[in-house]
Symmetry: C2
Subunit: 330 residues, 2 copies
């Protein structure tokens, strides 16, 4: 039987290399990290937790689990218009976690930290008799006062999303084997969208000065837009037919394997959702050319809540608006 990995060895060999190049991380050898403060900027801080069996599948590859954990946090930073600066990881690893598993986890985390240009500067590793439970705190920076907030939407704003909507919830189904019969390449693509979201780190900071309100779509488009409505004190009308869908999602709809309402309320898309005045459309179209499609899907209106207008012009009725983390997982 393999000996339990030693905490200090794991940190020194697997995680300390992820702090390289950032002196304030103190080589992950101290109890804290240092971040010299920069005048004229605001730090943006976000933290997300993930539990095996709830937020990812227990047998998901460890490198993808680590990368998703980082990416969901980077998605939050991007939605605030922030550039990533550093991350802290706390991990409760199940008893019996092998050194090989940890190596793959750290390798995946390292790959994405390098891809997105930020160091791991601290955290904590503990053992748990329960499922793998991860928490990551990500720090980003915006010019002082420049963060995009939920509550800044105005009546008349156009509502925009990046990328395509609904792939996350379909991807979860695909990863669970629930879309058997569909084109295998569509299934694989959807599963990868679920396992490895693409945080819109390039587009997010470019929205500064163009967008009013912003957040990322993590709990379902309708519910998340509802948060912008509540925080801004106004309402929203979404035209379902304008919501951008991937070819795979269109195929799932055409084959009767999903419904539009499910795609608009499913979680795990990690696309940007933002509002902008109509006269920002041309500038936003310019950003579109940078690689990620931005699509106008509706407008902010007087009133409260989100109305979704279906393809037939009538209001689409939704059984649920999105995902609530705190209730029992469905």
């Amino acid at each position: 039987m393999e000996e339990a990995p030693d905490e200090f060895q794991v940190i020194a060999e697997l995680f300390a290399p992820l702090a390289r190049g950032f002196p304030g991380a103190l080589g992950l050898k101290d109890d804290a990290a240092l971040l010299p403060e920069a005048p004229g900027t605001d730090l943006v801080l976000t933290a997300d937790a993930m539990v095996a069996g709830v937020h990812f599948l227990p047998d998901d590859p460890p490198d993808l689990v680590a990368r998703k954990l980082l990416r969901v946090n980077l998605s939050d930073l991007a939605a605030k218009g922030a550039r990533p600066v550093a991350a802290l990881l706390t991990a409760a690893f199940p008893l019996g976690t092998t050194l090989d598993w940890l190596r793959r986890f750290a390798a995946g985390l390292g790959e994405d930290l390098e891809r997105y240009g930020l160091p791991l500067i601290g955290g904590d590793t503990v053992a748990t008799p329960g499922p793998l439970t991860l928490s990551l705190t990500a720090l980003g920076r915006v010019p002082a006062g420049g963060a995009l907030l939920r509550g800044a939407a105005r009546v008349g704003d156009t509502i925009w999303v990046s990328g395509t909507i609904g792939d996350g919830t379909l991807g979860l189904e695909a990863a669970r084997g629930g879309l058997a019969g569909m084109d295998p390449s569509d299934i694989a693509w959807l599963a990868s969208r679920y396992r490895l979201p693409e945080p819109r780190v390039t587009v997010g900071p470019q929205l500064a000065g163009l967008a009013h309100a912003a957040m990322d779509v993590s709990d379902g488009l309708v519910q998340d837009l509802g948060h912008i409505c509540r925080a801004s004190g106004i309402g929203a009308v979404v035209e379902a037919a304008r919501v951008p869908l991937s070819p795979a999602a269109r195929a799932a709809l055409a084959a009767g394997r999903s419904q539009l309402a499910s795609l608009l309320t499913g979680g795990d898309d990690y696309e940007l959702l933002f509002t902008a005045p109509p006269d920002a459309a041309a500038a936003l179209a310019g950003l579109t050319a940078a690689g990620v499609a931005l699509t106008a899907i509706g407008r902010m209106v007087r009133g409260t809540g989100v109305e979704v207008v279906g393809p037939d012009g009538g209001t689409l009725r939704l059984a649920r608006t999105g995902w609530r983390h705190f209730a029992a997982p469905g």
Copy 2:
């Protein structure tokens, strides 16, 4: 059966009040928090995780669990010489956690946030099929370049600790009912030391300019001092007879309920451990008058590792040096 508490309601009613007075927390309604950066200071960041059944007892009162979680992080900040600024909490609550339990948890957290003068500015709450798993990221501030680090000890430095050593490990035993027969008031006092450490937040920042290396004693005095030795590239000699013990710990020793070696290697003390040049002794004695005793227990020497000199003048042999989080809990 009570309905599962709603995530948004829990955050709005129980946790958002803990963000009051700090605009950058955005009322815990956004996905991120904002912290305007201050020139001339370094942020100090630390994160600790705690798992029910590993780091606290599953039936510990929820308010004490929350307060301990905050305090162990504040202890890390204090050991760096930092004043607390803000905290982010991620919590994986077991399915079936009641609103009453959550209320008591939030009340305890709120009580100590107020006591130590920092707001909750963000985080995440999720459900878990496993044990309660908590992670807290704490931010503090020091004057730029002024943080106390592990690696700054020098040969000839005096080794100091705050408070008393060994109460944490005795307190765990007391909380488990393992000290039956001892004076009930000693048992209660020790258990409270385990459940509710006193982070040395006042003394820590006052060590700036006086201390060289510092950390907090969380995994056992000898092991933690070993970290300072390794990071500083030198050794340490501790005189066991000088290590300050509480009256309750002395009673436990006298009654044969514990051994000195156990007290020097047990975890959960959350006292400050630091080194300072001999000529700082008078100034440090002045701090002693501020409420927490500071005691010189040894000195830093050429060499490697920690030698503990026993009451008889010989080297004390230790079966283990401290607590390793990552291995299976003992």
